[in-house]
């Protein structure tokens, strides 16, 4: 069953002193693919700016804008209406030998490499070996996601935006970003190409039509086991109609929703709100 969902994501910064030169990039526009259709989407800023849009290396729609008039607050509102798809089924056509084939390893080299968020780790590699024993690749992905779900406690505040998977694992706590990174460490250690997906989640499994819920910015993973399919390790659920995806990459750094530079005093993040309404 597919849903039609409206997402209104409000984010931004507040500054101690007026800022005059601010350059920003927002990655807030949902993308279309076989299981997701973007009906409308826009990104607006206050103060208003002349936005420039482009598609980056990973295929993400980027909205770039700069602001030169003095301002103490920058608000970015991304709103979109998206038709989401059926629940993702694990793809089971790929075998371990398929995953080891040189052509495949080379094709997905970027989703097998270590990054600063997804670093190589001996202990986790041992866990990965344990998890893949006797399992098919698809089952190993599920096992890794469930393992991470059991190991980490969902607890905002312990980890920050720069924490790596290993940091989160040591703390045994984290948010969706950490759940996704930790899963990626395990999958890549198994030799399964795996990537980071950012997006939104409708928080109610049986969301009523026209009811606006407080949603959240979310992250999950996709793995290649004969084809790409997604799973949500934070909630240990398949990616389904409640998931609206925006960007994918090797890790968080490739898909950061809002980043930029400015000159002036220190900044604090505005309260981020995500309002998700099921329309149909």
């Amino acid at each position: 069953m597919s849903w039609r969902v409206r997402v209104v994501h409000t984010t931004g910064y507040r500054y101690d002193l007026p800022v005059t030169q601010s350059y920003n990039e927002a990655r807030l526009t949902p993308r279309g693919d076989r299981r997701q259709n973007v009906v409308v989407s826009r990104v607006e800023t206050t103060p208003a700016t002349r936005a420039y849009r482009y598609t980056d290396y990973w295929g993400t729609e980027v909205t770039s804008f700069d602001l030169h008039a003095p301002h103490v607050e920058l608000k970015v509102v991304a709103s979109s209406v998206v038709e989401t798809g059926e629940e993702n089924e694990p793809i089971r056509s790929g075998s371990w030998p398929d995953l080891k084939a040189d052509a495949l390893v080379d094709r997905y080299t970027e989703f097998l490499d270590w990054t600063s968020y997804v670093p190589k780790d001996k202990e986790l590699a041992a866990v990965a070996r344990e998890l893949r024993k006797g399992a098919t690749p698809a089952d190993a992905v599920l096992a890794a996601c469930h393992w991470v779900h059991e190991q980490l406690k969902y607890q905002p505040g312990t980890t920050g935006v720069h924490s790596s998977a290993v940091d989160a694992w040591r703390a045994r706590e984290g948010v969706c970003q950490d759940f996704a990174h930790l899963t990626l460490v395990l999958l890549r250690a198994m030799g399964i190409p795996a990537r980071y997906v950012s997006g939104y989640l409708h928080t109610k499994p049986d969301g009523a039509v026209r009811e606006t819920v407080r949603g959240e910015s979310h992250a999950w993973i996709e793995a290649w086991t004969g084809g790409w399919w997604g799973y949500d390790p934070t909630n240990a659920i398949p990616v389904g109609p409640r998931h609206i995806w925006v960007a994918l990459g090797r890790d968080y750094a490739d898909v950061a929703p809002l980043k930029g530079t400015y000159s002036g005093g220190s900044a604090s993040a505005l309260d981020v709100t995500v309002e998700v309404t099921r329309l149909a």
Binding site: D66, T109, T261
Partner: protein, 537 residues
């Protein structure tokens, strides 16, 4: 050696016991014949007395000191180490080199356009994807930036060496910010002052118009809608070792020399702050590294670059020359795939061969390298200036063992080459002329329609006996590089006009350079420039 037929100056020159006696000597054949390129030069200098040569050499040093160009080695000021014997290439040798360089630049332009576009060469399985994605200078931020006239390698410097058979081989490519062209021009200017008679006897092709070609290429690079494009040279600042070259080029082109803080972006247009207000900039010839270009995308702490620059280029409102991300094509591992790259894009065989190279990231080749470490030159893929290079034959066991560990740790980071005995050219050492090893860096400028190769280039020479390291920090010097015009040609040559000193051209350049920098400033910068060359080379 018995009863040499050579002039006294060359006493003991072809001593068979000299180190690297197999190296190709560019002046003499092994049986003491003089090669055609050097015949006129040999006839001019052979009858000279030793004192005469020394006097010329001193005049050369004085000319540099007069211009304020000295070089400090181990804290001691000495005249800029320009050797008085030029390095000479015949018209036919040069034609071959020129063709080879042009071919290489064409192939690499197509390679870069492909890599930052659809990466067909990877999809077609010609190159492994991980070769590209593992390059330190592969910048994903540059994907989708398409320069208006398609040129990414506005200026390139291809480092060439000549092997034992006299064959020119490419040692490495420099496609980011190759420096050193100011030496080519300065060396020539000084040589013309000290040896007007030699220039009268040779048809040496001129190098003084480099800036004209550079400016044409930069103006051509602008978007067609910019009717009178505004070009600037972006320098990291006076503290940079190559500042002298930046200012020289800006002055010769008649364009502004700017620093990052002089520029700003607004709504994806780049402006220059001037006393008359903001002026839009269309083309930036930048001499700062990729990582510093734009704090929004790259190093956030960069103060040398311009925030928003990358997206201004993406929007097509400004051209960055050389383009960002060119380093993926001059990576030393990608270099080893150049035959495949040239074949794939041009359907041709490379005209200039590479130096044979073993790639440590391929297990079989790595095993070979580890077994033959003591015979090979091992180089880090990243890094320049000769840093980290290990000459196997001269290394101690301890050095080799630590190298072995480092290769095993990071095979992608290393390549190995057999020791190439670089060709030799007579060089004044004490009061005699001795064979010393040289390399060559010609400069090519691509204006979109035509790839111009400056006839000449920077010849660096290793001054210590037997040394194969031409870097100036290792006691390297340089030579004026002469490309001879074919007898029938009408191309511009140095000091062609009657009146040997050639007042108009040489004097004009000299006058242009007069007022801007004080002597001591020039001195300082030239030194930094020298040390910089070391880092780059």
């Amino acid at each position: 050696m018995t009863a040499s037929r050579l002039s006294k100056l060359f006493d003991g020159y072809l001593d068979p016991d000299r180190p690297h006696a197999d190296a190709y000597d560019e002046m003499f054949t092994s049986d003491e014949g003089v090669r055609s390129a050097y015949r006129a030069l040999y006839e001019s200098i052979a009858p000279s007395e030793v004192e005469d040569l020394t006097a010329r050499s001193e005049a050369l040093g004085r000319a540099f000191v007069d211009q304020g160009i000295t070089f400090s080695l181990s804290g001691q000021e000495r005249p800029f180490p320009l050797d008085l014997i030029p390095r000479i290439l015949t018209a036919s040798e040069w034609t071959k080199l020129e063709r080879g360089i042009v071919q290489r630049v064409r192939a690499m332009e197509m390679f870069l356009a492909d890599i930052y576009g659809d990466a067909q060469i990877v999809r077609d399985g010609v190159l492994p994807r991980r070769l590209i994605t593992s390059c330190e200078h592969f910048h994903r931020e540059a994907a989708g930036i398409n320069p208006p006239n398609g040129v990414r390698i506005h200026v390139s410097g291809v480092d060439l060496v000549r092997d034992e058979d006299g064959v020119f081989r490419v040692l490495e490519d420099n496609l980011r910010c190759p420096s050193g062209v100011s030496y080519v021009m300065e060396n020539r200017r000084t040589m013309a002052r000290v040896f007007p008679d030699l220039f009268a006897r040779h048809r040496v092709r001129a190098v003084g118009d480099y800036a004209v070609h550079l400016l044409r290429a930069l103006r051509n690079a602008a978007a067609p809608n910019a009717a009178d494009p505004n070009v600037v040279v972006l320098t990291p600042g006076v503290a940079n070792s190559a500042y002298f070259e930046h200012s020289l080029l800006a002055r010769q082109m008649g364009v502004e020399l700017v620093e990052g803080r002089d520029l700003f972006c607004r709504d994806n247009l780049v402006y220059l702050r001037t006393t008359e207000g903001e002026r839009q900039v269309d083309v930036i010839y930048r001499r700062i590294d990729d990582d510093f270009l734009d704090p929004v995308h790259l190093r956030p702490d960069s103060v040398l670059g311009v925030a928003g620059l990358l997206n201004a280029a993406r929007a097509g409102n400004v051209v960055i020359a050389n383009a960002m991300g060119n380093g993926v094509a001059d990576d030393k591992l990608v270099y080893t795939y150049m035959p495949e790259i040239v074949q794939y894009y041009l359907g041709e065989k490379p005209l200039l061969p590479n130096v044979d190279t073993f790639r440590c990231w391929l297990p079989e080749e790595c095993a070979h390298v580890l077994d033959h470490l003591d015979e090979l030159v091992v180089k880090p893929v990243e890094g320049s200036g000769g840093y980290g290079i290990v000459f196997g034959p001269y290394a101690t066991n301890k050095e080799l063992n630590s190298l072995r560990k480092r290769i095993k740790m990071n095979p992608r980071g290393w390549i190995a080459q057999p020791v190439v005995q670089l060709s030799t050219v007579p060089t004044k050492i004490g009061d005699r002329l001795m064979p010393r090893h040289v390399d060559l860096r010609p400069f090519a400028v691509n204006d979109g329609n035509f790839i111009f190769v400056l006839p000449g280039g920077l010849t660096r020479v290793a001054l210590p006996k037997g040394s194969l390291v031409v870097n100036s920090s290792q006691g390297g010097g340089s030579k004026d590089t002469w490309v001879l015009a074919p007898r029938s040609s009408t191309v511009e040559r140095e000091l062609a006009e009657p009146g040997l000193a050639g007042p108009q051209k040489v004097a004009a350049i000299a006058a242009e350079q007069g007022p801007e920098l004080s002597n001591s400033q020039q001195q300082q910068q030239q030194q930094q420039q020298l040390s910089h060359r070391t880092e780059e080379a």
